[in-house]
Symmetry: C3
Subunit: 149 residues, 3 copies
């Protein structure tokens, strides 16, 4: 089975944000998949998707601080500065972190580790709403026997 859904995220401030719940809620077919994969794709080049620690907000703040440090806005090497000082670093961060996550599905649920959550990396100062495309595929669960649901 295949299912594809567009998901428009509300504008998030610059930084790293947990979006696992929003992704799962956009997938009504998830409980029907016995074994499969979910592809979460962002249709932009200045924001990223990755997987990391879902509990402590200070981890997400450290992500933002570290990536600002290692991809500095004021680096004299940037040539593409026409779209603002946050633009070129945002492109680099997006490629370092990734444009998609691929997640295993097992017994109708995302088979994430206990501490894993999906991070949206919003790398622009005002990124606006971001468009995701979710592609779910897998082997369907056998239909429940009559009378058991």
């Amino acid at each position: 089975m295949w299912a594809q859904h567009e998901l428009i995220l509300r504008p998030y401030p610059r930084g790293f944000h947990l979006i696992t719940r929003e992704v799962v809620q956009a997938l009504p077919q998830l409980p029907e998949v016995r074994a499969g994969l979910l592809h979460v794709f962002i249709q932009h080049t200045s924001a990223s998707l990755s997987l990391n620690e879902n509990a402590s907000p200070d981890v997400r703040r450290d992500f933002e601080r570290y990536f600002n440090h290692v991809v500095p806005q004021n680096w004299p090497g940037w040539e593409h500065t026409l779209e603002g000082p946050d633009d070129m670093p945002a492109h680099i961060k997006a490629s370092l972190l990734g444009h998609s996550v691929m997640l295993p599905v097992r017994a109708g649920r995302l088979a994430l580790g206990t501490w894993q959550g999906i991070y949206l990396g919003e790398h622009r100062d005002r990124g606006g709403p971001r468009r995701l495309l979710l592609t779910l595929q897998g082997e369907p669960l056998p239909p429940a026997p009559p009378g058991t649901r």
Copy 2:
């Protein structure tokens, strides 16, 4: 449906290059896929595949300049120098950027954002031709009714 194609890229100079068109042209089955995924894989460890801005050539130059800066050839920490000064940095860049991209397919086309293109990162001075393996899968479009094509 599944389709797999090998694609040999002509030698590119060191740097970042848009290869979206070459990839799409190697996929005759793409228009037949209603919903699916395309996996583009590079069978090398000193070149990379990623997704980024497809319009301004200065963005691709900034990518090359930034990655040369953050993974310097003359770093005294390198132990593996036998294959030349560009080799070990090329391996690191390949792992930072990635060996493959996974792209959603929708209604017979790659469902990329307006500004997204596939980047080949050629990280060696003389990388030569590079071998890609394209794996396309998905749900086929229903056949057109008789007389409509």
Copy 3:
């Protein structure tokens, strides 16, 4: 066809380790796949999976040295230090390198390049056993004609 297997890796010391053989051995269905994909996923946020050079051990030592250099434990910017000095750098390294690899399968084998192997990046000092989830999918080989096996 779909197959999903859990693979618990024995504890590895901090550093980069080749695990291609362990992954392949956990996949009895691999020889039956004509064309497909293998997804290897790590259910942790302080270890990584990537693909790189499978021959020289000094390449893997350079990976460890480089990533310790670029993501330093003693960086004054870290706020999340409660779980030890190796924890926050491990999260960053895991996102730089990735939580999964997607590999093409062709004619019953992983279609890797000659020099490609799967790297476990163990980024904690004592990471313990790590849990992988392998998801194999693809088009099965046609059954052998009677008498040919």
